[in-house]
């Protein structure tokens, strides 16, 4: 036996399956075409895009949590708020912004029809006493004041005289008439009546404005209109009404003007959520008043963010929480997932080696 015979014997070994069977089995066992890198990139891109969208959704939900009840103009709708005062973080209960134990006399909103006259210092009307009077059509005088005691207000009232049909403030003072107009009741404005929080001067509850931010006098059709924002310890003053928050009596802004403000009472304290922007009609008048029957011992100021944070747990829906968890896990494991995908793609390319023939024989 030589090499030729050996090879021929070897070539005829085994039982032939036949061309048809081999062909058919080859058709069955054809390897899957290699996955194109493009599809891998598409999958990866879709994955990253999903993560980004999810992240944006979470971010959107996070930023909207406290403002879910806010209309588009950025104001807060208080009426829909359910709030548990016990959830308010303790530090905010102690945030006073320097106001402690302020006695607030109830001062009803004045104003109404008739003539309004306001006296104050000409150069800075609210850097000192402000005295106003409303002469009603019946001739009755209703006076008010800011930064003056009750006795001073009464004294100023006594010094009012009508000379030749013109009201004048007699006596020794440095006040000037800065507004004098008739409220016909037809104009679309509210007169600044007041009020705000005050201290006590000579034992009398006294309206007391810490700061007046703005005074504007506009002469329109013979009518002077004031626009006043009184600042009480750096907070905007506001008109309030009684509300109940989580069963606790409180007061909140009314009229949709001092939007964003809310004040509530708890444990002998009133809490004030400040308004970031004082809202008023163009050229209109600021306002602040406390219902006459109310008497608030102290004012603590709660930050708006704290208020919104306190609302957060109750405004999150279950599916929002689930979304948080799912995307949180995805984002946390994102690097691991990417490394895993790369690793498995490499492994797969090693396993699925291309068929040996690389092209037609040379």
């Amino acid at each position: 036996m030589n090499a030729h015979d050996l090879l021929e014997a070897r070539a005829s070994r085994g039982t032939r399956r036949g061309a048809s069977n081999v062909w058919a089995n080859a058709q069955l066992s054809q390897p899957e075409p290699p996955r194109s890198p493009l599809s891998f990139r598409l999958v990866l891109g879709a994955f990253v895009l999903t993560l980004l969208l999810g992240g944006l959704f979470i971010f959107d939900q996070t930023t909207d949590v406290g403002t879910a009840n806010e209309p588009d103009d950025g104001t807060v709708t208080i009426s829909n708020v359910t709030f548990d005062v016990d959830d308010l973080p303790a530090p905010y209960l102690l945030t006073t912004h320097g106001i402690e134990d302020i006695s607030i006399p109830g001062v009803a909103r004045s104003g109404g029809s008739g003539r309004h006259i306001v006296y104050a210092q000409a150069d800075d009307p609210f850097d000192g006493p402000v005295f106003g009077v409303n002469v009603e059509p019946s001739g009755e005088l209703r006076s008010w004041g800011i930064n003056i005691s009750e006795s001073e207000r009464l004294a100023f009232t006594d010094q009012l005289e009508q000379i030749d049909g013109v009201w004048q403030l007699e006596g020794d003072h440095d006040l000037s008439e800065i507004a004098n107009y008739i409220d016909t009741g037809e104009e679309d404005w509210w007169f600044f009546s007041f009020f705000s929080f005050g201290g006590r001067i000579d034992g009398d509850p006294t309206p007391f404005a810490n700061e007046i931010r703005q005074l504007a006098v506009r002469d329109e059709d013979g009518t002077a209109i004031w626009r006043i924002i009184a600042i009480i310890a750096n907070e905007s003053v506001f008109e309030v009404e009684r509300i109940s928050i989580a069963g606790i009596e409180g007061i909140s802004p009314t009229g949709g003007r001092a939007t964003g403000d809310v004040v509530w009472e708890f444990d002998d304290f009133a809490y004030h959520l400040e308004a970031s922007v004082f809202e008023g009609p163009p050229g209109g008048i600021g306002f602040a008043s406390v219902p006459a029957s109310d008497f608030v011992d102290s004012v603590f100021v709660a930050e708006r963010e704290a208020w919104l944070e306190a609302l957060e747990p109750e405004t999150l829906e279950w599916y929002e929480n689930a979304t948080f968890v799912v995307f949180g896990v995805l984002i946390a494991f994102f690097p691991l997932i990417i490394v895993g995908m790369i690793f498995f793609s490499i492994i797969r390319s090693k396993i699925r080696k291309p068929p040996p023939p690389t092209g037609p024989p040379r």
Binding site: N2, L6, A11, G14, V22, P356
Partner: protein
Amino acid sequence: MEPQMIERNGIEPPPLGRASDFELFEALYPKLRAFAAVVADLDVDPDDLVQDALASTLARHELSQLDQPAAYLKRAIANAASNKRRKAGRLRSLLPKLAAEDVRVDQYPSDTSFLDELDPLDRAVLYLSDVDGMTHEQIASEIDLKPAAVRKRASRARAQIRKHLESDQAESTGGTQ
């Protein structure tokens, strides 16, 4: 003549568009099968090797599109045989206990088993040279080797066979004396 298709495991005959491929393969099959039987180790079924080579080829080309389908398939068979041998060797090195035993099963026991000591490509070269009567240049073109490499492989394989046959002959002579 229409190819006689055997329906197996629900496999339908090749689609019409590829009928020419099947006819081509059917014509090449006897030589491919013989070639596979030579280059494959004894524990590898030659038809499995042909089938693997055909499947990988069909995944990329239609046979009728190839300039030299026979050569292409032979090269694929030779590569497949080398791959199987390499994988088997790797497995034996990873599993030394199994390697100690002869894990290879000779499906078709014969006196040609010592050919497994040769490299599959060496066997391919020798087969194409001695049985098919191809020149070294033709073989080089057929299985994508350089002519010098073909010559070297053929020479080495012949020397090994000669040595083995001489050894066998010496043993049989010694046995009869």
